[in-house]
């Protein structure tokens, strides 16, 4: 049994970050802007991206020596929540997580080379999955040493923002152990990237074939640090998705509430019916729970390898946020009646977001299964 270490700490500095992030996302990502980006190739506005870089958000979790502001990873959480609220998708999450991988697993030279560039807005991403299974015990992607070169073999699926990433952090098996290999975009043929059609139209991903790509030895991170970083990245990724989802669930709730307050049927505002009112309260409480877990997780994560408490917090965040948004998205469609069934109605944006959220970094059950081992054994 984990001890009930139920802290939520939130500094004035974090409150300022949160407020400015909310304002920024509300300003830059109204739903009209979100919809305008849906058909595009990259799915985001480079102008907005550059503004985010200028605000220092890409370095917020990086130490000052790498051009970051050293506020710690917990400070990314309010950003993620705000982006989720505004359905603002950019390579922020991919790049932030790739930077964490390098920060946690890299040699000094790797960190010196890459972290300042990532803090300045060079885009990066993680290539983790070989198939649909987030719980797969190992990777089928291999890295083979030949002289001073290391050659990759294998295809990664669902690589987020791959089409615009300048750097790929690739999980591969090297001599039977997990390694993280740094591959630059220039090392990949255009044909190596195959765009995928995602259920959440604000998101982008590719299948990427790394077969035959060779890198020098200093592009590899391996050993216990890499294994530990790989575990942490999965947890931090789950937390960011959870924070983003909590924001999206809150926005979805607003959309539902607005409709229930204005739509009449049979002569009454439909929000007065308990059949709609009570489930809407359930959306609220599920979303509240998700945010509680997320803020708690943000409070117990440090720069070092994640503690067991932090692992519990990240997993609970993802499990709860998944349940909250899948319920919210589903009810949002239903409660909009015929309108909810149209592409024009914003409910579908959250519904699709929900379907995407639940699959990222493992679904709710994936995390609960691991929580059981942490809490019951």
């Amino acid at each position: 049994m984990a001890k009930a270490n139920n802290v939520i700490t939130f500094s004035d500095e974090q409150a300022m970050v949160l407020q400015s992030a909310r304002d920024f996302c509300a300003d830059k990502s109204p739903v009209t802007a979100v919809r305008a980006l849906l058909p595009g190739n990259t799915g985001y506005s480079d102008d907005v991206w550059q503004e985010m870089v200028a605000l220092g958000w890409l370095g917020i979790a990086l130490p000052e020596q790498y051009g970051g502001s050293g506020l710690g990873f917990g400070s990314v959480v309010p950003l993620a929540e705000s982006m989720g609220r505004g359905l603002l998708s950019t390579p922020f999450f991919s790049t932030t997580l790739a930077a964490q991988a390098i920060l946690r697993a890299g040699e000094s030279q790797q960190k010196d080379t890459w972290l300042p560039r990532l803090a300045e807005g060079t885009t990066a991403t993680l290539a983790l999955l070989d198939n649909e299974d987030w719980g797969a015990p190992d990777t089928t992607c291999t890295a083979t040493v030949a002289g001073s070169e290391i050659t990759l073999q294998g295809t990664k699926w669902y690589v987020p923002d791959a089409a615009v990433a300048q750097l790929f952090v690739v999980h591969a098996s090297l001599d039977g152990e997990s390694a993280l290999v740094l591959v630059e975009r220039a090392q990949l043929a255009d044909s190596a990237l195959q765009s995928q059609t995602l259920i959440d139209e604000t998101k982008r991903a590719c299948k990427v074939d790394f077969s035959g790509v060779s890198v020098s030895a200093d592009a590899v991170m391996r050993g216990p640090l890499a294994a530990s970083a790989l575990r942490d990245i999965h947890l931090l990724g789950a937390l960011l998705v959870a924070a983003e989802a909590a924001g999206s669930a809150a926005a979805c709730l607003d959309v539902v509430v607005d409709y229930l307050k204005t739509r009449k049927q049979f002569g009454r505002l439909i929000g007065s019916y308990q059949g709609l009112k009570h489930p809407t309260v359930e959306i609220l409480t599920a979303m509240d729970s998700a945010r509680c877990h997320v803020y708690h997780a943000a409070s117990v994560i440090g720069d070092e390898a994640l503690s067991e408490d932090a692992e519990v917090a990240c997993r609970m965040s993802k499990a709860q946020a998944t349940d909250a948004i899948t319920f919210a998205g589903d009810r949002a469609i239903q409660f909009h009646g015929g309108m909810g069934f149209t592409y024009e109605c914003d409910a579908q944006l959250y519904m699709r977001r929900a379907q995407w959220v639940q699959q990222q970094f493992g679904d709710a059950y994936h995390h609960r299964k691991r929580l059981a081992a942490l809490l019951l054994d």
Partner: protein, 402 residues
Amino acid sequence: MSEVSEQELGEFRAEVSAWMKDNKPADPGFLLPQTFMEVGSEQVLEFLREWQHKIWSAGYLGMAWPKEYGGQAVAPIYQRIADQEMKRHAVPICFNVIGLSWTGPLINDIGTEAEKQKYLKGILNAEDVWCQGFSEPDHGSDLGNAQCRAVRDGDDYVVNGTKIWTTMGNYAKYMILLARTSTQGARKYDGLSFFLAPMDVAGIDPRPIQKMTGEYGFCETFFTDARIPADCIMGEEGQGWRIAMQTLQYERGAEAGAAGGLMVVRTVMEDLIKDLRGLKRDGEPLLKDPLVRDRLVQLLMEEKAISLGERRQAHSALNTDYPFSLALSGKLRSSEFAREMRQYAVALQGAQGSLYVGDDDAISGGFWQRAYFNNFATTIGGGTSQVQANIIGERVLGLPKD
């Protein structure tokens, strides 16, 4: 019609089965619709038109309808067997549903000889696509309150207003239209009339609505001084409500007068389980996971309970407490079951569940993702699940009204 022997029926079933096996179309390379509400492109329309024509030509559609209007005047049991075989062979749907299941039986029952001559065969052979103009944007669940106006002017009615959820409105040749010919009368229902309206007159503008799936299928149809010939009215002025209510009774299959044909692609647990068989969770087969198994069993139980409910209705002694319970709860239960099942079907796919229709790697082409999204048509359309629960609470259990 005389009694049909079991043997004759068995032979007929074998014959249909063989025909379906031989004639089931090859995969056209695009995802076919699960219901007629998803016919959103010319390509799909033409494919399905050809298929329905073929089935009708083979003699497996409208079998119980009179011969002179394209039918075969055999007992409805034949059509039911043909429908079962279509389902079993998982062939494409017969898409002209508003014609086959609503308009056709209505005209057969209360239409004039002229109407029968004019409309019935075109419904069966798929030449004439029909759509429905009942719902309006501002009062979806409140049909009696329809506001679309039809004002008599010489030999025409001049129609102004808007109808919504007109499936295939943009492809249809005719619409069954419920419009208000009078604003007088004691009850709001009394001012409604029912038209078999041509869609090709000036002033009718069906605009396709994009669905949450990204696809098309429904229209919002605008009427602006559209002149519908007065002889398109069915029955008399002011009988519209009664005729509309009668129309809604035919859906239940050939026994109720419908032409038959497969209306909905089957979406059953058996197929879902097949689709999940290759997937893994934590490196092990997904179907070996205890939680997944437990939830699938719960869904199988509910699927079976719904199916058993139909059998139970045949025994009045087993339905004495709340005699209309099974009949009135069927829509709520089957649509909500389908929602849960389809939602879970997506959830179970792991990362593959984040792919969508159009991605080559999506499981069954994204069938389950689209099935989940489209299922809201059934939990919303025809009275939302919330309204259905009220109906059951009030009419079956006798609870007080809201």
